[in-house]
């Protein structure tokens, strides 16, 4: 969409600077909030950006809206989590924007195939949650174990391949999305309350449990279970010792051999199918997968557990090969991404937007109350694709943002003993 007031005589750079200045100012001007591009839209209109990411946020609706608002054509490719890491490392020329998770970033950043972003060009940096800055959700919160996003968010300069311990002007990735994960259950097929991670290995659910086969995430769910059982004490679940890895895998291998698991899943759709078909009644799951099962009319609960959540965050990173007009367009796209419309779309699927306040403008008060504040819904809750998800009166599983994100026990991570862990995980899958 063109901004009719943009004078053609100004150069793109000038306008970008102006745009940044607006964002850096204490008060955010209304122009910024609407998400209109501040550079001359004609220039970026014909730009095509190739983005890949996991199925969770590679939604065609985003590409359509970006085309409407910015004129940019987005080519989206959905991959599984491991494949996203592969793509960054082995095919750096095949993408412009990588929509990846922070623990993946930790793994792929040293390859030098991505370039950091200049924070002064990000209009909504001030709105980004503290989790992605100093790591603190609220000034008093403690930082959970694992690869917390802020530990891999900053780098020292445009060419740096390492991470900076403190905040700098260079962002490795712009955060867009995050959530607290727990077990998904089919309450109708279980018929009793579930409140601990230990239930995943409860023999009662023999042949009806599942865990995800993505090593870095699966090992965390496994650790949450073993810790809750009291079988293994961890120094840091996000950075286990070889001994801790061995003990964890031994418990899970034993359960696997006893027939505890029906299947392992690798992609979002697989987890939905397992749950919806009733093959599995308790499993590791992601929030929108729950949403999807529910919109099929089946009861499915994202069960809060007393031991807390495993959390993850994702963002948009730039390919090292981006430059010139495409780079400008990518900044424009990312600023638009954080301006609220996408955030609203993600929030209404059960994720959190990294800049929640901008998303609020694109949600009804009732939706905001339900998804973010944990209040009972006043009207039916409709998902972004028009399906009814919750009847009036429903309350979100786990409650408000602070209750959920405040109870995160560890982040998805890459460990020092990653190579060893991967080998053990493979043995577990093959066992």
């Amino acid at each position: 969409m063109k901004n009719p007031t943009t004078p053609n005589s100004l150069s793109r750079r000038d306008l970008l600077k102006r745009g940044s200045a607006v964002a850096l100012g204490a008060a955010v001007g209304s122009q910024a909030i609407t998400g209109f591009p501040t550079i001359w839209a004609q220039n970026i209109k014909n730009v095509t950006l190739r983005q890949f990411g996991t199925g969770v946020s590679n939604i065609n609706a985003i590409a359509q809206k970006a085309k409407e608002d910015l004129g940019i054509t987005l080519e989206m490719t959905a991959l599984d989590t491991d494949a996203t890491a592969q793509r960054v490392v082995t095919q750096p020329k095949s993408f412009d924007i990588a929509d990846i998770e922070y623990f993946t970033l930790k793994k792929v950043w040293p390859s030098g195939n991505m370039q950091p972003m200049d924070i002064s060009r990000l209009k909504y940096f001030d709105q980004i949650a503290g989790t992605f800055k100093d790591g603190k959700l609220t000034p008093s919160s403690t930082i959970a174990q694992g690869t917390a996003p802020h530990t891999v968010s900053f780098t020292d300069g445009p060419n740096s391949q390492s991470f900076s311990k403190s905040m700098t002007n260079w962002y490795t990735m712009v955060p867009t999305i995050y959530n607290a994960d727990t077990l998904g259950i089919r309450p109708d097929l279980i018929g009793r309350p579930i409140n601990s991670w230990t239930e995943l290995l409860n023999p009662e659910f023999k042949g009806k449990a599942s865990i995800l086969n993505i090593a870095s995430i699966g090992i965390m769910d496994a650790a949450m279970v073993c810790e809750a059982m009291g079988e293994v004490q961890y120094g840091d679940k996000g950075n286990m010792t070889k001994d801790e890895i061995d003990k964890t895998m031994a418990i899970f291998t034993e359960a696997k051999k006893a027939g505890q698991f029906r299947a392992f899943w690798k992609t979002f759709d697989e987890s939905v199918n397992l749950m919806a078909s009733g093959e599995v009644v308790i499993q590791s799951m992601w929030s929108p997968a729950i949403t999807k099962v529910r919109s099929m009319g089946l009861p499915c609960v994202y069960q809060p557990l007393k031991e807390g959540y495993r959390s993850w965050g994702g963002g948009l990173g730039l390919s090292r090969n981006l430059s010139g007009l495409e780079l400008d367009a990518a900044y424009e796209y990312i600023n638009w991404y954080l301006s609220g419309w996408v955030g609203g779309l993600l929030m209404r699927q059960g994720y959190y937007s990294a800049a929640p306040e901008t998303s609020k403008l694109h949600m009804s008060d009732d939706e905001w109350g339900f998804w973010y504040e944990g209040k009972a819904a006043k009207n039916d809750i409709i998902d972004p694709f028009g399906n009814k998800m919750e009847p009036a009166g429903a309350v979100r599983d786990g409650g408000s943002f602070l209750e959920r994100m405040g109870n995160v026990k560890c982040w998805n991570s890459v460990m020092d003993e990653n190579r060893y862990m991967v080998r053990k995980w493979n043995e577990f899958i093959a066992a």
Binding site: D80, S277, E279, A430, A431
Partner: protein, 284 residues
């Protein structure tokens, strides 16, 4: 015929050499080289280390996985052979007009009009805990509890393999059978052979090349497969292919390359053993 000039010989062999060079020798050479490289979490780099091979050959998991894969290959071979031989026999000896042979043969190929992934996935709702088959058995009162072994098990994996690859057995065996001189069979019957003797002394020996070709197809396809095992095994059964695919998805390319080289060697040995049983060059 005159001796050809060296140039024309060179020109004549160059297309096949180029094709094999680019699409066979070059990729396999690359895999062989990479299998000696070293790697870390996010990249792999030139080196000359044996760790990929020692990791692969020093792990119990590798041997168990190979055993598992042989098990799948053996079962699949057995069932595809039974089905393939029977179908081919019926087509070759019981259908007497060429037109009907062609029609029925084409019917055998109908499943191949869709992709093999689709053919595989369509089993899942059929065999599931609340799937069509279990529901049917329960409604006619044959069972009380759904049969769990039907899906995400060795059973479902072998079933899918047999479904996918039976035709690879039918075609070469049918081809061999069509080439059997019918007077040989008449002679056997005139000589007093009963049906079984005719089958074991005449038909099977003369079908050996077809059986060997079909077996090579089926065994190599199963040995290298990963997607069938992954989808039908619910991600918790292992085969050599799945093991390599796991490594590739975790960016452990050199480790996967080492496994690929080992698998290639194993499959070559298996094929050469099969060639030993049947001298294909002579028979063809």
């Amino acid at each position: 015929m005159d001796r050809q000039s060296p140039l024309s010989t060179l020109l004549q062999i160059s297309p096949i050499s180029l094709i094999l060079g680019f699409f066979l020798v070059l990729p396999i050479g690359t895999i062989l080289i990479v299998s000696f490289w070293d790697y870390n979490d996010f990249s792999f780099f030139p080196d000359f280390v044996w760790t990929n091979y020692s990791d692969a050959l020093g792990s119990n998991v590798t041997y168990k996985t190979y055993l598992n894969t042989f098990w799948y290959a053996g079962l699949t071979w057995f069932f595809t052979f039974l089905i393939g031989f029977t179908v081919a026999y019926f087509l070759a000896f019981h259908i007497h007009t060429t037109r009907w042979q062609i029609v029925l043969f084409l019917i055998c190929t109908i499943p191949f009009w869709t992709s093999n992934i689709i053919r595989m996935i369509s089993w899942i709702p059929f065999l599931g805990r609340n799937g069509v088959f279990n529901t049917m058995l329960q409604s006619i009162g044959l069972i009380d509890e759904p049969l769990e072994f039907l899906l995400f098990s060795d059973f479902s994996i072998v079933l899918a393999f047999v479904h996918l690859y039976a035709l690879f057995m039918v075609v070469p065996i049918f081809n061999s059978m069509m080439r059997i001189d019918r007077s040989l069979i008449e002679a056997a019957i005139d000589g007093g052979a009963n049906g079984w003797q005719m089958l074991t002394n005449v038909v099977i020996p003369l079908c050996k090349p077809g059986i060997a070709i079909g077996s090579i197809f089926v065994v190599t396809l199963v040995m290298g497969d990963y997607i069938t095992v992954r989808l039908m095994g619910g991600g918790q059964r292992a085969s050599v292919g799945v093991m390599m695919w796991n490594e590739i998805s975790l960016l452990l390319y050199p480790a996967a390359a080492a496994h690929a080289v080992v698998l290639l060697a194993v499959v070559l040995i298996m094929v050469s053993l099969m060639m030993r049983v049947v001298d294909l060059k002579k028979e063809l």
